[in-house]
Amino acid sequence: MARTVTTNRKIINTAAAWAVGLLIFFPILWTILTSFKTEAVAVADPPVFLAFDWTLDNYRTVLERSNYARFLMNSIIIAGGATLLGLLIAIPAAWSMAFVPSRKTKDILLWMLSTKMLPAVGVLYPIYLIFIRLGLLDTRTGLIIVLMLMNLPIIVWMLYTYFKEIPGEILEAARMDGASLKDEILYVLTPMAIPGIASTMLLNFILAWNEAFWTLNLTAAKAAPLTAFIASYSSPEGLFFAKLSAASTMAIAPILILGWFSQKQLVSGLTFGAVK
């Protein structure tokens, strides 16, 4: 049944796809390469591609000069905290909507989604004001709360989609076999739900890590995560391409790796299950 593909056509496909893929990936590759150059080589004309003396100096400079560790910690704590807190609130909600659906479930899900559509800039000042009043400005706690709320609809939706696929009959079978509610949750549901929870966690960690509206507007020196640290390179002095590249590489490397794991969940997660 399968269409026979000539080797020639496969070679052309491969060449075209790799060419496009490398072109799209090139800015990232170039950033990573530049991070190992000296500042002079980084701006050399004609550009040097691979044949240069590789150095780790830029990484050293960035790590020494800029409190990089603190920005990194802020990113980890804020993105991690927002994701975990979000899961804590979303799991029961998604659970009950998937297993005890009512007539209102669909409306509630859609309404939750609609809160995600609210443009952040429309509520910038109120949030700013609330943050000042509550002493949350430039705190990690404040950002954890805001990013959690921002991603909560996506978390609920993703979990709901996964939980929906757990067959209800399994629960009934377990009940017939005399499983208690505790056994049911611990030995039947949890193992089945964990993959869905893990991919939800992954995608939302990435979204929170990369968020760059609230993190830029609600932080200053203390709670600023990597997004804000990188933004501070926008008005530099002197040569800085290599250092910018080193800082950028460190900021995106962990997420690129996590992202590659989550690419399968990306589609259904970001289209709210509309494309699977």
């Binding site: 496909n13 004309d45 609210l118 910038l124 760059a212 910018l244 509309a274």
Partner: protein, 288 residues
């Protein structure tokens, strides 16, 4: 099946999420509405009383308004055009049999995971810098005068950066949709002698219409509120001030909260018009 008991337990389990989101939506929204009807300048006298629809009128009649609408439309429209067209082409290409498909997929998706401030700064400096950027080297190598990307053609440059960020998203979704296309139908058409373009226009494209609609709607919602890409590249200068950026400047830079809030209400209305269409599609899918 569900008992009264499990129903009330379900309601209890849903409560935290519902209450939090309700607060997250209503409190700031009501405050924005409230401020939008006030003359409110925190640094110059604070709350100076009610002004009716004055802020709404002043926001749309200020000289910065129409240029910002134009910039917004160009950035959103340009990015949509590029990402959807190239997303369809790339999706079709990636769906063909080839060696190393998994690796190519990873290469194509990667930009989506780069944080906006990084991609904006890397493009701004390492590619678009008129002296040291790669493009400048390239232009000089062929004897052309390097372009001042972010000042002379700032909107085009921003569209380029944002398209690079969003092309992976469009490609991934369209690829998923293409994969669900019935290949037998295409084969039958091929055997009947339908040329490639006709097969694309009459089979592939109609099959993709729903996915394309979803890409357009979701991207529009995100693109209407892009911020970091402008913040670190031009800071809103050189005609690149979008509606979002204009509101940001009114609220935080010039601290004219009343005026900015009126702008915010416009932005909310605009986003909701797009959202209604998206929700319809998602809602239909929920019934299925």
């Amino acid at each position: 099946m569900a008992t009264q008991h499990s129903r009330s337990a379900a309601r209890f389990m849903m409560a935290p999420a519902v209450i939090l989101l309700l607060g997250w939506m209503l409190v700031p929204l009501i405050m924005t509405l409230y401020f939008s009807f006030k003359r409110y300048l925190p640094l110059r006298g604070g709350d100076l009383g009610w002004t009716g629809f004055d802020n709404y009128v002043r926001f749309v009649t200020s000289s910065a308004f129409w240029p910002s609408v134009q910039a917004t439309l160009i950035i959103v429209g340009g990015t949509l055009l590029i990402t959807v067209i190239f997303g369809v082409l790339l999706g079709i290409l990636l769906n063909q049999p080839m060696w190393g498909q998994g690796v190519v997929r990873i290469l194509v998706i990667a930009p989506f995971f780069v944080m906006p401030t990084v991609s904006a700064l890397v493009w701004k400096n390492m590619f678009m810098d008129p002296v040291n950027g790669l493009f400048a080297h390239l232009w000089k190598a062929v004897g052309a005068q390097p372009i001042e990307w972010l000042s002379d053609i700032s909107l085009f440059s921003i569209v380029l950066i944002v398209s690079w960020q969003w092309l992976p998203f469009a490609t991934l979704i369209l690829l998923t949709a293409i994969q669900s296309l019935d290949s037998e139908q295409l084969e039958a058409a091929e055997m009947d002698g339908a040329p490639v373009l006709k097969r694309f226009a009459y089979i592939t494209l109609p099959h993709l219409s729903r996915a394309i609609t979803i890409v357009i709607l979701i991207e529009t919602i995100f693109l209407l509120s892009i911020f970091a890409e402008i913040f670190v590249t031009t800071g809103g200068a050189f005609g690149s001030r979008t509606l979002t950026y204009l509101i940001f400047q009114r609220v935080l830079e010039s601290q004219n909260v009343g005026l900015g809030s009126a702008g915010g209400v416009y932005a909310i209305i605009l986003a909701n018009i797009v959202a209604i269409f998206l929700m319809r599609i998602v809602g239909k899918n929920l019934d299925a």
